[in-house]
Amino acid sequence: MTTKGIVFDIEELGLHDGPGIRKLVFFKGCPLHCTWCHNPEGISFCKEWIITHSGEKRICGKEYEAKELAEKLLKAKEILIDSGGGITITGGEPLAQSAFLFELIRYLKPISIAIETSGYAPKFIFKRLISEVDLILMDLKHTDNIIHKKYTGVHNSLIINNLKLLCQSDVNFILRIPLIPGVNDNKENMESIVQLIKNAKNLQRVEFLPYHQTAGAKYKMVGKKFEPGFDTNQTAKVWLDIFKNNNINVLVL
């Protein structure tokens, strides 16, 4: 069976997305619509026109067969392997193209594979993911279901359940928390996140990604309006102690 997938970018020197030198592949399309998303071209599952600030017009989004994409990603694989790196699959939401994803993983192996996901996927898919990759970079925005829905467009129950599943598994994972000023950078949210993960032996660390002013830079390019729904001039609060007190490593990216 050959499934086609859609990808919006490939980067060759992902420095903050898993160990070693890694190629990053960005799957196009995401079921979440986070208001602060800095990759608006990764939201739609369709090809779309992009007009850059220098006036270049190009199509964003390229369809691949899994085998073809794997071959492309595995070019210069010696460097990836020798450096202790591999491939990181991110997006968009890779799990939203799960059939394509798992076929791609099959072609990529045995190289080390990391995946960055929102965790928004049916349980059986997430379970399969856990069994097939070497590292999971899982996002968590908010533990409160209503606030989560307001800012991301979806409820968080699938995500929380999958996170629980992940915590009980033995695949290494990093929990990534985007810090959005006035939205999720409060003590209560951080404390309930700690409750969810504090017993996970496979948690390597928590990474904070403080909101950055440049997040809205690409919206114009795809003909969208950046409407974050919070005060972008504020600086997000970083809560290191709550995590450190529970023996959880934290890193601010």
Partner: protein, 692 residues
């Protein structure tokens, strides 16, 4: 860094020593040149008189914090020929740049070890020998070197007197030892170097490189550490002061732009037996440069298959500072390359880097590694206009390209012959065999090879790839359409422009279709130079550097078939075309390691621009270090990385006052961004915009 070093660093930044500079009127300089003419002296005597004039005029300066002295106060160096004399010289001779000996690497080691008195004795012996054989010009030459040494000693004595009178008995004592006698300590060796280097600049010679400092200075350091005269910290402090001294007078040094002064220091590499030569001093130099963040000396790292990964990390930490160096060169490629051009194994293993990137031999090389440049873009331009319409397939077009390349090279080389340089008696003292043979270095040395840069390689490969694809493979574009479009700068055919620019393969994406064309072009360049001899009996060395030609060569051509419009610059050195968005650094290093770079042995680095956010933490620095090592392992010859931030450059262009310390790599050297001409500033900004 300790307080003393902070003060010295601050002095440099505040230009405090400039207050001692003497203002010499142009009329006085002209009068000196005129007097040389009237005395009807030989050229070598003129050179020596000039050095005497400068050194006699010099005033000793000792700042209270200084332990390594010698500061220039005489800013202008007079010409030894009047304009008229220069013009008649130019009629008969090829004159390279300023017509002076430059861009070579001295053998500092020997003179520092034995001292100038011993060197004088050698000259006396040589005088006897050459008097016996009646070598008149040789005798005059040797006498001028003696005079130059005496002038240096005289200035040293005046420094010593000042030291005594200002209560600096430490300096007084040292200046009575060196440079008369050989250095015994690390401190003496550093001061000795400073005097030699200072004198080279005062002689009018320029791009005076530093060479393998960590090799020839290590024994002094090691000895002092063993005897306890120095500990690590005190040695490091001296080293930092020494580094600062390179920045005292550098604004006076001639170059294409401020910063282009050739103070290249080479660290690491293999020793004469082929073993790893990195040592404690190599590491200290990297750390000193990291702490001081000054553009001089410019650090070059020689690496090879046994180089410890830690040196790549130290190098990447230095890259992170945005200094535009270290520049890496690969012994595994460079040494065989030099051997293939007739360099001895011992000399090849001892190679250093000239002002920018060219590989030269200390003591034995009078190579001119930047004598000319071949414009690949121009060759393709001519081939298209003259032949494309008559070619049935790509292979026959490539034959025409080769024909045009040979024609172009012949044209360039026909202008080079009967070269003349001003004699350089003091520089000759620091080159091997000049004293024994009583022959000035300007007349040649063991190696007298000429290097030819190659510019616009990626533009040429991209243009050929577009032609191959559209004209010959899928036949979607007619040759005539390309010729017309180039002639009117795509103005009548925007669709063709789009197609050539965005739909054709580009070098830097690890795509054999275009990369193999670059392989072939460089192979061709190498072949064309194989049997050529220059006017001094030396060979020609093909290179992949561009120097300032990446801007100059654009003036000779219109638009190119890769979609580059008229006037848009070529990329600097060995890099993807300027306006091409490439897949990423892994593809770039794959593409640019495909040619057999042993044959492109004049050098010219692949330049990678990485955004400064990629250097955020230890983990990511390791990854950058690994990337560097990968290019070396894949057979790259030379690599230079920049940590850049486009926003900061744009701001610096707008508000130069606020960004005086912002350093960028320009072509083969680093300079202060705000001191560059606008044309160069814009090129740097443009380069970064597209590669990060």
């Amino acid at each position: 860094m300790n307080d003393r070093i902070s003060i010295l660093l601050d002095n440099i930044k505040q230009k405090k020593h400039h207050q001692f500079r003497q203002n010499i009127e142009t009329t006085e300089l002209k009068a000196f040149t005129q007097s040389l003419k009237e005395q009807e002296l030989s050229d070598v005597l003129k050179s020596q008189k000039r050095l005497s004039w400068v050194l006699t005029k010099e005033t000793p300066i000792i700042l209270p914090e200084e332990k390594i002295v010698f500061t220039r106060t005489v800013c202008q160096i007079p010409e030894i020929f009047t304009d008229e004399e220069w013009n008649s010289l130019k009629e008969e001779h090829y004159i390279h740049e300023l017509g002076r000996v430059c861009n070579i690497s001295s053998n500092y080691e020997y003179t520092i070890e034995v001292g100038l008195e011993t060197r004088k004795n050698e000259i006396y012996k040589a005088l006897i020998k050459h008097k016996e054989i009646g070598n008149e010009s040789g005798i005059i030459f040797l006498q001028t070197v003696l005079q130059a040494i005496d002038d240096v000693l005289n200035l040293t004595d005046r420094y010593a007197t000042l030291a005594l009178n200002t209560g600096r008995s430490d300096l007084y004592k040292m200046l009575n030892q060196i440079p008369r006698y050989g250095a015994k300590t690390f401190h003496e060796a550093l001061q000795f170097f400073r005097i030699l280097h200072y004198t080279l600049w005062a002689s009018g010679n320029y791009h005076n490189t530093v060479g393998r400092f960590d090799q020839y200075m290590f024994k002094y350091l090691q000895n002092d550490l063993n005897t306890g005269l120095l500990d690590y910290d005190s040695a490091f402090e001296l080293l930092e002061e020494f580094f600062i001294s390179f920045n005292k007078d550098s604004d006076l040094y001639p170059g294409m732009q401020q910063g282009d002064n050739g103070q290249s220091m080479v660290l690491g590499g293999v020793d004469k037996d082929g073993n790893d030569a990195f040592n404690l001093l190599s590491e200290m130099c990297l750390k000193a440069s990291l702490e001081l963040k000054l553009i001089d000396p410019k650090i070059n790292l020689r690496v090879h298959k046994n180089t410890h990964f830690n040196y790549y990390i130290l190098g990447s930490e230095l890259t992170k500072e945005g200094l535009g160096f270290p520049q890496y060169s690969n012994d595994e490629i460079v040494i065989p390359g030099l051997l293939s051009k007739g360099y001895s194994l011992e000399d090849a293993r001892n190679y250093v880097v000239a002002a920018c990137w060219e590989f030269i031999i200390p003591g034995n090389g009078m190579d001119i590694p930047n004598i000319a440049a071949l414009s690949f873009a121009k060759i393709i331009d001519k081939s298209i206009k003259r032949h494309l319409d008559n070619c049935d397939d790509f292979e026959s077009f490539l034959t025409k390209v080769k024909f045009e390349a040979k024609l172009e090279l012949d044209t360039i080389l026909s202008k080079i012959g009967n070269i003349y340089m001003e004699p350089a008696p003091f520089q000759s003292l620091l080159m091997n065999d000049c004293i024994e043979n009583a022959k000035d270095i300007s007349l040649g040395a063991k190696y007298n090879n000429y290097g030819i840069h190659g510019t616009g390689i990626s533009t040429a490969a991209d243009s050929l790839a577009a032609i191959k694809k559209f004209v010959f493979d899928d036949k979607s574009v007619h040759a005539k359409e390309i010729v017309n479009a180039l002639e009117n700068n795509f103005e009548d055919d925007p669709d063709l422009w789009q197609k050539l620019k965005y739909q054709a393969p580009k070098m830097g994406n690890d795509d054999d279709y275009v990369d193999n064309i670059a392989v072939e072009l460089l192979e061709m360049f190498s072949e064309l130079t194989i049997n050529l001899k220059n006017d001094r009996g030396g060979c020609f060395r093909p290179g992949s550097g561009s120097a300032m030609y990446y801007l100059w060569h654009v003036r000779d051509i219109g638009a190119s078939a890769d979609g580059r419009k008229k006037g848009e610059p070529l990329s600097a050195n060995f890099s993807p075309s300027l306006n091409v968005k490439v897949n990423g650094p892994l593809s770039v290093i794959s593409s640019f390691s495909k040619p057999d770079l042993k044959k492109i042995m004049n050098g010219g680095p692949l330049t990678l621009e990485l955004h400064d956010t990629l250097f955020r933490n230890r983990d990511s620095i390791q990854k950058v270090a690994f990337l560097v090592k990968s290019y070396i392992d894949m057979g790259g010859h030379q690599l230079q990385l920049n940590a850049v931030n486009r926003e900061r450059l744009i701001e610096a262009k707008k508000y130069p006052e606020l960004h005086k310390n912002l350093i960028v790599r320009v072509w083969g050297w680093s300079g202060y961004f705000v001191e560059l001409d606008e044309e160069y500033q814009d090129h740097v900004i443009q380069r970064i915009e597209l590669q990060t």
